[in-house]
Symmetry: C2
Subunit: 231 residues, 2 copies
DNA sequence: CGCGTTCTTTGACACATCGCAAACATGAGG
DNA sequence: CCTCATGTTTGCGATGTGTCAAAGAACGCG
């Protein structure tokens, strides 16, 4: 799979890995196409594989006991995901669903220890990733504890713009279909409130919305809003 | 230090470790007494050591850019804490402050790799711990996204009762000084709201409060409240 | 033992946000 | 090209929670 290899090479994770090792890793992988709306794995299922997203976009969601859904994170190309086993879990804590046509590589979890053994760098990266995720989670808790909805939404949108933004002139378009509902589930609010807020922003010329579309027209303006100390 | 060793032995972390290894670990450690209000380490400081709480109780806090504080977690005896380096971080993400007279063991972070090497079980436990923490963080995000304050507070109190509860007849007293402010910072609300809620609970006979004191008198009742689907 | 600090309780009020409901827009598929 | 499903906008009323303010209670310290 030549295409895979050259693509994989562009990811930070494999940057410092030599060709032989990369090859070895890929040799054991299975590539899988995931159409929009389909899940790579479901919350609670036995964690049989871990994954690397080659192309596309996924959202990882969790459902609460009483049926409400939240988006835990968005998976971008180059991200490792679903490595529950590295954390000594036997099942997936969330559901990973494609929001855009995606391609993912997968490995059986049993292979994880070998890989780590053979390539300590992988372990380090994995640790860093997990550390980052923990930090992100805490940042989100901090936000939800102390900030009003508008600022939270602003942060979320800016984050998306940074991670999945596509420059279009002075504006940045978010590169995959995302609904108000999605943003609401990422920020702990309702789609109604998100819609209202974004309408206001649109009036101010900060963003431009559309059905499952979102473009940030004034990054600085939105940043200012996100950082504003109330009062 | 015989006392340390026999105490340490009671912790799950060392349960399956043989005496020689335990001894070796302890040999490199430094024991430190932490009076109430004092910090073991501060947010942003270089992560020079990692720790094990022997006795007492700590709270780990973070301050937001605009000065608000949140409690990230409570550290109980037997817990490993401050191992930022295991996550490839060079500084501590939060501040650990004693809320009760405490004793902690510490090791230089440089020793971490050796320990892990020598005792793989430690690595596994550490991973599990981190996994748990990530999960807890997500659970908290879920709660904050979907539940009203009263349920969140109920959950927080029940968690504390489980982790730091001391049976007193049918009731469970939380075994360290905790203020309404603390609970507010754990649940993302204000001390006023917490106070109001707990007054209501007290009227219903669910809990009994006092200055920095809290006793759950009716665990089942409170649990019911925590799980209640609104409506 | 009394003083002052810290923590807690309570009231009144404002307001952000949710819930409900209905109209509207957009894009996909026949 | 029309129609239906899905996503979006908007209004209105209800209300949970934050904010401000002040009094009261508990504890530590001199």
């Amino acid at each position: 799979m030549k295409i895979d290899k050259s693509l994989v090479r562009t990811f930070p994770l494999f940057e410092k890995m030599d060709d032989a090792d990369t090859e070895a890793l890929l040799a054991h992988s299975t590539s899988r196409r995931v159409p929009v709306g389909e899940a790579v794995f479901e919350q609670g299922a036995a964690a049989t594989h871990f994954f690397l997203l080659l192309h596309g976009r996924l959202k990882v969601t969790q459902v609460t006991e009483d049926g409400q859904q939240i988006i835990v994170r968005v998976v971008h190309p180059g991200d490792l995901f679903g490595f529950a086993k590295a954390l000594m879990r036997s099942d997936y804590p969330g559901t990973a669903t494609a929001v855009a046509e995606s391609i993912a590589l997968s490995w059986p979890t049993e292979l994880w220890p070998q890989f780590v053994d053979k390539n300590p760098r992988l372990a380090v990266t994995a640790m860093q990733t997990i550390g980052q995720r923990l930090e992100e989670a805490h940042a989100r808790i901090r936000e939800m504890s102390t900030q009003e909805v508008e600022r939270r939404v602003a942060h979320a949108v800016l984050r998306l713009a940074k991670q999945a933004g596509r420059k279009e002139g002075g504006a940045v378009r978010i590169d995959f279909p995302i609904s108000r509902q999605d943003i609401a589930e990422m920020t702990g609010t309702t789609l109604h409130t998100v819609s209202r807020i974004m309408s206001a922003w649109e009036a101010k010329g900060l963003v431009e919305g559309g059905r499952q579309k979102l473009t940030v027209k004034d990054v600085d303006g939105l940043s200012a809003l996100a950082e504003t100390v109330k009062g």
